[in-house]
């Protein structure tokens, strides 16, 4: 059966962990944000049928989050989405659309 696990980490651990996952042959499955009392970022990696999620709690959207696109190029879409829709400050995205990945008629990032 497929296993799934969520591990909470600090921002500074993100890049080393991503490199660790890449070295272990894990593929990037998804990245998402959740606006709860605090901002939560979830980076999910898959290997065979297992799913491992790294969880980062952000005190605010202004906190700089390092991009993992140098390790996982496929993260560029997710990271632009985090920036465009949630206003998260991603630093070092190799394809940074600077807020223009989602061509929206309404103003983003969403505030409510």
């Amino acid at each position: 059966m497929a296993k799934q696990e969520i591990i909470e980490i600090k921002i500074e651990e993100l890049l080393p962990k991503a490199k660790e996952f890449m070295a272990g042959n894990w593929r990037l499955v998804q990245i998402c944000a959740a606006k709860l009392e605090q901002l939560e970022l979830s980076y999910s990696f898959g290997k065979e049928h297992d799913l491992m999620t790294l969880r980062i709690i952000l005190p605010s959207a202004d906190v700089e989050v390092p991009s993992i696109t140098d390790v996982y190029f496929a993260a560029f879409g997710y990271e632009n989405e985090l920036h465009d829709l949630f206003g998260i400050n991603i630093k070092g995205n190799v394809i940074d659309y600077k807020g223009n990945f989602y061509t929206m008629a309404v103003k983003t990032p969403f505030k409510v």
Binding site: M1, A2, Q4, I6, N25, R27, L28, V29, Q30, C32, A34, L36, E40, S42, S44, H49, L51, T53, Y72, F73, A74, F76, G77, D84, Y97, N100, F101, Y102, T103, M104, F110
Partner: protein, 359 residues
């Protein structure tokens, strides 16, 4: 170096069923770089979860996509069932497999038709869609809907298929399989089809894995990754093996989809033969508290549903990562260095579903 020009492709283009915009940076007829833009049909479905009760939200999940509607609804239900530890009755698990596979057949036939249309083979396009109509008739006959099935429910399914109806369905499926064989022969053997697909849009095994490709995109590059191998619903009891090709090109992706049509027919027949008698649903008691990632194999590849609840009737967060979103980086990879005339085929090769990618 030739003249460098930027050619806008989409969001409105004859080959695009849904809007995506690509800036194609070309040197003469060669595409050297691509810049995609999405967001034309963002519907805010993830936000809507805060205003709909978690039981009613199944109807929204059903509408994330108009082609693989059933699997979206089912995966949402699987996510809630995962949070609430609900065990789904066996008959419902088999019915989920049957409807999922009918979804796959109709989606792959739709793709075959669109691809034939993209390279100008109109008779093949119409033939693929003619066969698809019979599948839609079966779906309507068993669920009441042709596009939105509305058959998913947390804890099980909303409808049953009687033994007599199942027998009729299998008889019809036998005829449909013969028609698919005839149509597939043209796709697999015709020289004009091959001339547009063979060797076009190479995605190596390493790139497919590193770029997070899913579905026929990754399986045509020699990697046997298919979420059905996890054994969700009743797949664990049906000896499922994924279809894999090693050509890494557009032809390989076409072959994978065609072989999957027959594998889906086989899975439906096996599921119909083994379907047990049981209630159709487990009653849902309480509200979801906790979080869960559910994954299923859609016609386009792996879909991921994430839900988080705090013990109230409204979820705190719902997120869906669709196969099209995962296949965007591999698409950019295959477009780099291609000929301008191959762009429509290569865009179609990932079977793009933009409205579900944008949610």
């Amino acid at each position: 170096m030739g003249n460098r020009t930027i050619i806008p492709f989409g969001p409105q283009h004859p080959v695009l069923p849904e809007p995506i915009h690509l800036d194609l940076i070309c040197e003469d007829e060669k595409v050297v770089d691509v810049i995609p833009k999405i967001g034309f049909i963002h519907r805010g479905l993830e936000k809507l979860v805060e205003k709909k009760e978690f039981t009613d939200f199944v109807h929204i999940a059903d509408r994330v996509c108009g082609i693989c509607s059933f699997i979206h609804g089912m995966t949402y239900c699987m996510a809630i069932e995962g949070v609430m530890n609900i065990e789904v009755p066996p008959r419902a698990q088999y019915l989920r497999v049957i409807w999922s596979e009918f979804s796959r057949i109709h989606s792959h036939l739709l793709w075959l038709g669109l691809t034939a249309d993209a390279f100008g083979f109109e008779a093949l396009f119409m033939n693929s869609w003619k066969i698809r109509e019979h599948i839609l008739d079966i779906i309507e006959d068993t669920t009441g809907g042709r596009v939105i099935f509305g058959a998913s429910k947390i804890g099980g399914v909303r409808r049953d298929i009687s033994a007599d109806k199942l027998k009729d369905v299998l008889n019809e499926l036998k005829d449909i399989e013969v028609q698919i064989h005839e149509c597939a022969d043209v796709f697999l053997k015709d020289s004009s089809v091959k001339s547009r697909l063979v060797g076009v849009g190479i995605l190596s095994k390493e790139d497919a894995y590193k770029l997070g490709a899913v579905g026929p995109m990754i399986r045509a590059s020699g990697i046997p990754y298919d979420v059905r191998m996890n054994g969700y619903a009743a797949y664990k009891e049906l000896n499922f093996t994924p279809v894999v090709e090693n050509t890494c090109d557009s032809y390989g992706r076409c072959v994978v989809r065609i072989k999957e049509l027959f594998e889906s027919c086989r899975l439906i027949r096996d599921a119909a033969a083994k379907i047990p008698d049981s209630p159709l649903e487990t009653k849902v008691v309480g509200f979801p508290k906790g979080e869960y990632f559910a994954r299923a194999e859609q016609p386009r590849g792996e879909v991921v549903y994430y839900v988080k609840g705090d013990g109230t009737k409204f979820l705190k967060r719902f997120r869906v990562r669709t196969p099209t979103f995962a296949n965007l980086p591999p698409l950019l990879k295959v477009l780099g260095g291609c000929q301008l005339a191959d762009v429509p085929i290569l865009v179609l090769t990932i079977d793009p579903c933009i409205s579900c990618a944008e949610r």
